[in-house]
């Protein structure tokens, strides 16, 4: 193992009191597990306690969900996750759409030990389950992307600190998810969160556009703009007020109606805004005021990368691309422009066609951690599309990184392309599933795996979920697939036209569900139709708008 990444950048450095707090939480849970195993606690009493610590009971074993706040890991942490996978799981970890990692083969008796090992590298499973404010998610290119307006991580950390174990909000009507981005291009699906924040700078300090009441699941809803420009100093007060209104009015009697999206829909955006404003007027604003000093303090705990690249870094990259077409193809799909001319952001696809989306072996995790040490200041980010990002790679060293990724089997040139399929674990692991999602994702990946074909198709997203809970975000895929149980048989509904970004849209259901292989063929026909009929530069969603769902339906069901 390599040395701890003392120079690792990008995430908040823990203080002693953070560490002491983690130890306390583990001691507490260890006692609870002990009392459960001795029979002192019944399953009924224990279940909510384990859920507060990220432990679910799944189809084959317990599942442990580990938090990766705003998706940023350092190489030391990734090595540790690799160790946990090898020692306590079947050598795998599964990265999720909430920028977390899940282990599917965990024994309850091992959990306290695992939590202690994770705490050694400042990791935990807090806020990964239960009806609390869940882990805040953020833009995977934060602090690096050329198109960024402001680095969202500082405020993501401030929101995390505010929300962690907020005494009022540990038992909300339902779970609560917050995402924050600082780019004009919404890379966090802000409109599909309970609260989505889009940050931008102004002459008078940062401003936040606040969306409320978005979500997927049983009732997919596009979030609505509650406030256009929340001032930095009012950020926490405003969040607090939104949560208070929700906590006071949100329904607790019906699990499916308990999310804030239902409250906002029921009383209407205007009434909700009025309630929030009244709450703001009532509360002690000074107590929640976010001062520039506090923000500066948090900012200081994020180390910044020392971006030094040779003057000819861009030229070297161009030469490498010319010499190696396979590398050039990977660069075209798997990179994003960096703020610094000599650097680039690299996206590592966890969707090698035919493999399981989001799954990484222990060896791959160790290998990635070593590569991150060498090429990205020891820092790795997890994306909400189940890929990884090295934020700051020197352009002249990108080829070397790519070769390292190839050796790990992680150089699929398909980010944003059709085989970059987002998928939940489905019936192969999940207790709530109606149908398997992974085999279908594998088949679709293999069907469209050819690099030239994918490049020809261009940007097109497939998302799939094994049930209506929508963990795989099927509503926002250009093509969405949803597993449904039809009298005991696994079948798949197809949705078209979803979009998670600026043009947020929920996919329309095409029609009756398909058997697995039929679904693969139907998707193939849909894609073929798109290729044949699209106008120059026309996206899938644009063509769908032009031609209408019915035309696609006829193709999918072969009724023409």
């Amino acid at each position: 193992m390599t040395q701890p990444a003392s120079r690792s950048v990008g995430h908040y450095q823990y203080e002693e009191r953070d560490r002491a707090f983690l130890q306390e939480r583990i001691n507490e849970f260890e006692g609870q597990v002990r009392r459960r195993l001795s029979g002192e606690l019944s399953e009924e009493e224990f279940k909510p306690l384990r859920l507060m610590n990220g432990v679910y009971l799944q189809l084959h074993a317990y599942m442990l969900r580990v938090a990766i706040p705003y998706g940023v890991l350092d190489s030391r942490q990734l090595h540790k996750l690799a160790d946990v996978a090898a020692k306590y799981d079947r050598n795998y970890g599964h990265f999720t759409t909430r920028q977390n990692i899940q282990f599917n083969w965990i024994a309850l008796k091992d959990v306290p030990t695992i939590l202690r090992e994770l705490a050694e590298v400042d990791m935990h499973a807090i806020q990964t389950s239960g009806n609390c404010i869940r882990n805040v998610t953020s833009d995977e290119f934060a602090g690096a992307a050329k198109d960024e307006l402001m680095d969202p991580r500082i405020h993501a950390e401030i929101v995390r600190q505010w929300s962690t174990l907020h005494p009022e909000f540990t038992f909300l009507p339902r779970k609560f998810k917050i995402a924050i981005s600082g780019s004009p291009e919404d890379r966090v699906a802000a409109r599909f969160h309970d609260i989505g924040l889009l940050a931008r700078p102004s002459e008078n300090g940062p401003l936040f556009r606040l969306f409320v009441g978005g979500g997927l699941g049983r009732t997919p809803v596009v979030g609505q703009e509650l406030f256009d420009s929340v001032k930095e100093e009012d950020l926490i007060a405003t969040l607090e007020a939104v949560l208070r209104v929700y906590n006071a009015f949100g329904r607790r009697d019906n699990l499916y109606k308990a999310r804030i999206k239902i409250l906002v829909q029921t009383i209407g955006l205007e009434a909700f805004r009025k309630a929030v404003e009244e709450e703001l007027a009532r509360m002690d604003r000074a107590a929640y005021r976010l001062t520039p000093e506090h923000v500066a303090q948090i900012r200081a705990r994020f180390a910044l990368p020392d971006l030094k690249a040779p003057a000819d870094a861009s030229d070297v990259l161009e030469q490498h691309k010319k010499a190696d077409p396979a590398f050039a193809r990977w660069v075209a799909s798997n990179t994003h422009p960096h703020q610094d001319e000599g650097h680039i952001c690299a996206v590592i696809s966890l969707k090698t066609p035919g493999d399981i989306p989001g799954d990484v072996t222990s060896e791959q995790m160790h290998g990635l951690a070593d590569l991150a040490e060498r090429h990205s200041f020891g820092e790795v980010r997890v994306t909400h599309l189940q890929n990884l990002v090295f934020g700051h790679v020197r352009k002249d060293q990108l080829h070397e990184l790519w070769q390292g990724l190839k050796a790990l089997g992680l150089a699929a040139p398909n980010v944003g392309l059709i085989s970059d399929i987002v998928s939940c674990p489905g019936l192969d692991y999940c207790n709530l599933a109606n149908a398997r999602s992974l085999p279908l994702a594998q088949k679709l990946g293999a069907r469209f795996g050819d690099a030239a074909l994918q490049a020809e198709i261009g940007a097109l997203s497939i998302h799939m979920s094994g049930c209506i809970n929508a963990c795989g975000h099927h509503h926002v895929g250009n093509i969405g697939l949803l597993g449904v149980d039809k009298r005991g048989a696994e079948t798949y509904q197809i949705l078209l036209g979803g979009d998670a970004g600026e043009n947020a849209a929920i996919g329309g259901i095409l029609g009756p569900s398909f058997a697995e292989d039929e679904a693969v063929d139907a998707v193939a026909r849909i894609v073929e139709f798109y290729l044949g009929q699209r106008q120059k530069g026309e996206t899938f969603s644009a063509m769908l708008k032009r031609c209408g769902l019915k035309a696609f339906k006829e193709v999918a069901y072969e009724t023409v």
């Binding site: 029979g39 019944s42 799944q58 189809l59 084959h60 317990y62 309850l108 692991y429 599933a433």
Partner: protein, 113 residues
């Protein structure tokens, strides 16, 4: 109590649970001990299963299992669950044949009850 699933022609009922310690899927077998292999599961008729399930539920805490319920299976050797969900529980994830209980080394048997 919720009604039992009714087995069809050539089908029987098995009782299953998750082991408290490690979440491992287990099947109620001979002597009302929880077993790791579905091949060792006791076959119940619809008529017998109700009382057996009630007993198993009552003894769940003591026998260190959770989530006890009945599963419809074909009356074959070994019995084979009828639904995909239960087949996946019995044999492991379909996407990882190498992880299946049929092939993977059985973990240490701590709760050999």
């Amino acid at each position: 109590m919720k009604r039992l699933s009714r087995p069809g022609e050539g089908e029987i009922l098995l009782l299953t649970a998750s082991r408290l310690l490690d979440g491992r899927i287990v099947w109620l077998g001979e002597g009302e001990h929880w077993r790791e292999s579905i091949a060792e599961a006791t076959r119940f008729t619809y008529e017998d299963a109700g009382a057996a399930l009630e007993r198993a539920l009552a003894e769940a805490e003591q026998k260190e299992v959770v989530a006890v319920y009945e599963v419809v299976a074909k009356d074959t050797q070994p019995p084979e669950p009828v639904t995909t969900r239960e087949a996946i529980r019995a044999h492991g994830p379909s996407v990882h044949p190498d992880f299946s209980y049929d092939h993977a080394p059985v973990r240490e048997k701590e709760s050999a009850l």
